[in-house]
Amino acid sequence: MLARLILEDGTVFSGKSFGAARESYGEVVFNTGITGYQEVLSDPSYCGQIVTMTYPLIGNYGINRDDFESVRPFIHGFVVREHAELPSNFRSQQTLDSLLKEYDIPGISDIDTRRLTRKIRQFGTMRGVITTSDAKVEEFLSSLQQSGNMNDQVSRVSTKSVFTVPGRGPRIVVVDFGSKSGILRELTQRDCDVIVVPYNTDAKEINRLRPDGILLSNGPGDPKDVGEAVTMIKDVLGKYPLFGICLGHQLFALACGGNTEKMKFGHRGGNQPVKELATDRTFITSQNHGFAVTKESLVGTELNISHIAINDDTIEGLEHKTLPAFSVQYHPEAAPGPYDSGYLFDRFLDMVEKHKKEVSPYAITR
């Protein structure tokens, strides 16, 4: 079946439909990862977005049980040059096509994805629609222009209730703005006692859980859509060691008085170089963000820039000048992407350990 991807500027890409044969709107973004499509399409941070993979052959190794980054995909569409009909890998259980059908997500293949990528690079992220109908382009354009950006993605992807992943180590409360499984995996691997709470959990509720540390997870959309989290962070800051990842990093910045802005087309891929200023070392990181903390907004705050993206100098990491709190814009949990930054979890847990020694945890509640 034929399908089209229509962008808000009127550009039309004609290709073939795969996955669900239905219409779907979203913000069109590209990801430069060569591998990791399963993790990408199941990363809740992509909620509401139509994702293009720049690598042309997608689905080669199929879809397996283990590599999902959440219980279901939240993307609004998947765009590839070619999707493999016969995947080959010992773990493969289904094709990309069948997965998308299962979750009713439309896909479009056989289009010039490089042209699409160049368009986005040149003009910035755009809204678009994947459709199999023959309707006139104009009709879609008016709907595209009328529909504003989504602003409730976090509430859609966050857990509705508290759940625990018990461990014998330090208790970490993960505030779930759309957390990737990788974050939980990194914590449980380190034997943490993990409690995952919904995005709108307030400080009182968190206090009640008596955490040793708080991890602010990644998540979709504009951090300014999640005002309640900013309040919560302000309340817990300093009481517990805090580690923010991606959206969690942006929320941390907002809570400390910083500001964020939308980027032209963001950073999405597993090859983004980030420099750790303290050590002058550069790491290849996994990234997925369309917003960034602005440099000028940090003037006068208690935040130091700890990491920068060396390609465009944007902020990739922050640390609090006095309190045990830091954050990174990228994904130390990898999945997909390089494992080089996994040490940040150790750093966080060291901070937790240190804090525990300094402040008796029982003192707070007594």
């Binding site: 060569i34 720049t54 016969l86 690079r121 390609n311």
Partner: protein
Amino acid sequence: MPLLANLKKVLVIGSGPIVIGQAAEFDYAGTQACEALKEEGLEVVLINSNPATIMTDTNIADKVYIEPLTVEFVSRVIRQEKPDGLLATLGGQTGLNLAKELDEAGILQEEGVKLLGTDLEAIKKAEDRDLFRALMYEINEPVPESDIIQTVEEAVAFANRIGYPIIVRPAYTLGGTGGGIVHDEESLRETVASGLKYSPITQCLVEKSIAGFKEIEYEVMRDDKGNSIVVCNMENVDPVGIHTGDSIVVAPSQTLSDREYQMLRSASLKIINALNIKGGCNVQLALDPYSFQYYIIEVNPRVSRSSALASKATGYPIAKMAAKIAVGYTLDELENPVTKRTSACFEPSLDYVVTKIPRWPFDKFISANRKLGTQMKATGEVMAIGRTFEESILKAVRSLEVGTYHLELKEATGLSQEELDKRLAVADDERIFLLMEAIRRGMTRDQIHELTKIDHFFLDKFERIVAFEGRLKNESLSFELLRDAKRLGFVDRKIAELTGLTEEELRIQRKEQGLVPVYKMVDTCAAEFEAETPYYYSTYEEEDEREETGKKRVIVLGSGPIRIGQGIEFDYATVHAVWAIKEAGYEAVIINNNPETVSTDFNTSDRLYFEPLFIEDVLNIIDVEKPEGVIVQFGGQTAINLAEALVKNGVRILGSDLESIDTAEDREKFEKLLRELSIAQPLGKTVTNVNAAVETANGLGYPVLVRPSYVLGGRAMEIVYNENELLSYMEQAVKINPQHPVLIDRYMLGKEVEVDAICDGQDVLIPGIMEHIERAGVHSGDSIAVYPPQSISPELKDQLIKITTKIALGLKVKGLVNIQFVIHDNQVYVIEVNPRASRTVPFLSKVTGIPMANLATKVIMGHSIREEGFTPGYHPEAEHISVKVPVFSFAKLRRVDITLGPEMKSTGEVMGRDKNLSKALYKGLIASGMKIPVHGSVLVTVADKDKEEAMDIIRGFYDLGFKLMATSGTASSLEEAGFKVTTVNKLTEGTPNLLDQIRNGEASIVINTLTKGKTPERDGFRIRREAVENGVVCLTSLDTARALLRVIETITFGAESMPQFIQPKREAVLHG
């Protein structure tokens, strides 16, 4: 960290001659390195023995030494130049080995030279199997069960413990020389014995075979700060078991999930960290297709063939960055030269599929063992880029120039099923084609997988190609079908064949429908950032990314993969042509498909099209580039072969036109021209049946030179001495019929001379004349060439100059022309004329100082020789004597006869240059890898026809104190001549026979001119092979033997007793 303090002058070591396992990639790496160092204001001194390289041009380094790559000569250069640093990691294994030897000899320390880049400690740890394994255990990285052995018995004991199959890898050898997979004790013993001989430290690794695992490579870089990146990962289509240099390789990996990708990435980075690599490194891994189990296969702590491939596959210039790291920079301080706006410390992202297919020399070496294993046999490779795997591999196939333009080998249909199964299971160079035949025959994917172990992902893609052939055959050719065919990479010719159209018709129809390719950029970043690189590939999609500059352009066709007969020399000429076009104020556009070369460095030309040199692909580029014209004379036979079709399609050829090319190649036209110019050539005739052949040969008189007319350049050419030999040649070597005539020429015994000249239509400039050491009958590429000639009279030189001038003008040459002559009875005969750049252009350019390819290009662009400041005529001869010595790769090609003859066999060349011929020859021979014996035994087995001539040479060796060994026949004639000879047994006379003598190292030189040993069973063949495999000097031409003798005479001092006092006759003293 910026540039290292106190670093002013750097010595760069090149990789020497092209041999199997070490090809043009090191010219590319070395050239980049020199440029990168010069950018930093460093003074660069270069040493390399290979004159055919761009890096040995004096504009690349500040000072260039073309000298043998031995401790002796490199030390001399170090003492003379006093460099502060030495960069050896860009000169392949040769460079590394030399650095180690210099260090061990204490020279680096003595002269205060700092080794730049990865240090020797790391190199040793990576290369010494024992140290490497210890390190892997230490950092907990898995290696296959293995043992380091130094004797055959140890190997057998290991095998008894672990079981077969077992892989044998000799330590410190190029391209896995001497190794292999063995399945039983007998072959284990044989392979280990030879492997120990090849290993300079007499050491082999025997290891559990993991054949069938996925073979994955990571090209990684690391700097002194510890920043580490992966430039590219690659997956071999052929699983573990076939040397990666002989494997079809795709980039990026196709069948690894992110977890597998990252697991192997982390392992690779962990290893280079543990090794403290500073620069580029290659890590090879094996991954179980059914689990996460992986093994580290090996690590190359330097730039390599794979890094050249990775550079071209991604656009990321590894060698350049490695050089910068070596002199102190860190990756984060360097800019990505492709985008010019982002950091070099990142990992390239590909948005296309790259396929590499090796190019093997089996078209030349028909008798060679074509089976592929752990010992590399390919001489070169092609690379292709596409947006689908099918497009990518089909482009690669038509880049190969092996007579097919599709994944199809017509002969394969004739194979029996049994034969097919066998050849699928035990891979040879044609397996990819046989696999397609298997699919066409209806074998299932499972069956083929069972035999080949090739991943289902790839097999599925191959099945799709075959399925699409069916659709093209059965369906009517709609727009969509044609579009999809083009998107799968099908070439017009194949589509036409399947749809019953002519190629012409299809091309017209396709263009009418607007089905033309677009050109996309290789930009390292999958379009995430804007890039500056004019590096393109074609595909059938929507957006074309070329930008119109409005400048006039000229297209230069490259020479494709390196193969025997068409080596790096042609890339050298191509690069110079590109530079000259730029100097002349035009944009230079290059089309080529060889990832190893300087010509496919995107910095070389204004635009690089990494595309097949296939007519359709070339025409498509011409359609969009609209050049002033196309230059075909620098790309060897590859480019020349395209000329006719280009002209037919209305393309303008710049320089010598089609008529000149045709006249030189068409025998009748050529004879007519020579007659008109009254120039002599050996008598000969074209025949179309066996009877006529016999008749003609009888008429001309034996020996005669026979060759098929449809291939030129020495392929299947032979000298036959009698009717029996002629008949057997007719039967075995050629198909003779009216479509495929055979040429028979009188073979003229004499001195062979070669001339390269440049003609602008008015004037002819002859930079130099080269005289060959070996007489006519030995391919010019396999002969030692001497410049300036040492034994040609001024009168003959005059004749040569006059004839060259006449031919160049008569043929209406515009640009370069190469003429080969034979001097027979003091008369000059023309053997062959090629109106194009020849193999000798780089050598002659370097020794005469005339930039021949540059000047020729200027002439092609309409300038005159005089305008360019050169004086026509014979350029004054240089004072120094230079020799070009061929280098062979026989040790890697079992069952190939090493006898020199009219078919070219060498893979590379070196140069020796000094004040006199003996010194120059000494350097040349040493540089070619010969260990010149100064004492020992000469084993002589010469044909009857050569015995008389051989006596003088044998006497020479004898007088220098060499002992003589010979089999009974030769021995008795030597004894008759008054020599003391040890008689050794022939093969049929029981052991120990002469093979044992060779094997035991009792002969230091073998002189063997036994005729015709094409079949391995023949004695002569076995003697020669035994010599090669045991590293014994083996001379098959008496001329080479004479030259060697001359060298040994010069470097040694014979012990001669003092003359007796003169005892005058009594009468004479009575004077008074």
